[in-house]
Symmetry: C2
DNA sequence: CGGGAGATTGAGCGCCTTCAATATTTGTGG
DNA sequence: CCACAAATATTGAAGGCGCTCAATCTCCCG
């Protein structure tokens, strides 16, 4: 690897980021150049702490791998707040908000890039299209958070799992990571349980039921939605609109 | 009432808004003047729809009374996403986000004021302190949303209720609506149930337990926390920092 | 060939739900 | 000020969804 990020190999790393933000706004050449010029990637193993609970935010974008924001309760209960997928920003916003009180951990091996330059551009007022894209991305995050409240508050275990599957597939589509109904699936049943407020055992039984029912298939780290229409129906999933 | 909003009576209506935003940033005289110059209040009865699910956002501030954002499921299940208290903004942000897919209803009789002027000022770049305050207010909203996920995902019925009590009291303190441990309480047990993902019957039993246990007292629409330390402990409530 | 993380299975139970009925409070009109 | 209706709160009983505990199985990795 050279010290310059201008070669094709380095650019390819940023594809997920560019595709995701491009879904929200028409980025200019300068916007894309800014993203390509981000510092070379940092790599993290699975289970690394990207961000401590009370730490000052460090803006990053996730180039590859999955991560999660979560909060712990005193007795060890864990609640995953959101999953972070390739192309997603971490702390990329116009105002640092140290008050969210959530930690971030990698779920798989991960590559990230420092996104301070993006935040600086937001404050400088250059790159208006990128700013709009970032704001839309934040609005989508809020939408997912609201979905999460509804899921954990008023849906059954079966519905929660279906809804989470639909959300993750939709977000992977957005960043161009997948195309059809098959998606990489690095999540353990414990992670799913911690996101959906369920026990590991119950998640296991529900997934088994879905598999035996021919709704999904999971093997070799790939999960396939065999009956996406049924799953979306069960989950009452509504894909967010992109035109905003 | 005259057509001008410059008299003391009209100004007093905006006190909650000014106090709340002042908690986030040092507003300039011009910022406060902008708030005082907002159009005269609209009044709504209890149960009015302030905002439909898919409607374009209409920026408002809540001057008095309580409201709630919620989402309905097909079969009638309702999830309250957040409570809106005096001084809170509704759709006051730098980017309209029609994708949240939540409706807003009044819970009591309510007075609101159109806040388009605030949003316009945000976009114009005048009033930087007010802009910072709005951003901090949004960050606090996100914090509360995250708390809500944790509550509904990983806490027991008792813990959820305690946490909600603490959050609402803390937010009422913030806008100067109350001072001690007594607060106005317009919420029915059904509203609490719809916020916390519980059944009405169970909320009733939990509240009764808390009353008989001397933790709270409720009468004449006023709820008092008799053992705030215990309640905060049970809820594992952490008050958000204000210095940000 | 261990060792460990994750997945699976069974048994028992409890938190919370649903259903249903009654009491109480609130609001409204006479 | 009372009467009536509607909304809200309360209580009891029965049951189910999802939990805990505990053991076993599978798979991956060095």
């Amino acid at each position: 690897m050279g010290s310059s990020s201008a070669n094709a190999g380095a650019r390819a790393q940023y594809e997920a980021v560019v595709r995701r933000y491009s879904a929200f706004a028409s980025l200019s050449a300068a916007d894309i150049e800014l993203l390509h010029a981000l510092p070379l990637a940092e790599t993290w193993p699975a289970g690394a702490e990207l961000h401590a609970e009370a730490a000052p935010p460090q803006p990053r974008v996730l180039l590859s791998g999955w991560a999660a924001r979560f909060r712990m309760l005193r007795d060890g209960r864990r609640q995953i707040i959101s999953f972070i997928l390739p192309g997603d920003g971490i702390g990329v916003c116009e105002r640092p908000s140290p008050l969210t009180l959530t930690a971030t951990t990698t779920l798989t091996a991960v590559r990230t890039a420092d996104a301070s330059a993006v935040v600086a551009a937001l404050h400088a007022g250059t790159h208006p299209a990128l700013r709009d894209a970032v704001r839309s991305a934040i609005a989508l995050d809020e939408r997912c958070l609201i979905d999460h409240v509804v899921r954990n508050g008023r849906q059954t275990a079966q519905e929660r799992i279906c809804h989470l599957l639909m959300e993750l597939r939709w977000r992977l589509l957005l960043s161009g990571a997948i195309e059809g109904y098959a998606m990489p699936w690095p999540l353990t049943q414990e992670m799913i349980a911690d996101a959906l407020g369920l026990s590991i055992v119950h998640v296991n039984r529900m997934l088994q039921h879905m598999r035996r029912d021919g709704q999904i298939e999971a093997r070799h780290g790939v999960l396939t939605l065999l009956q996406p229409g049924l799953i979306a129906e069960l989950a009452e999933f509504r894909a967010p609109p992109l035109t905003s």
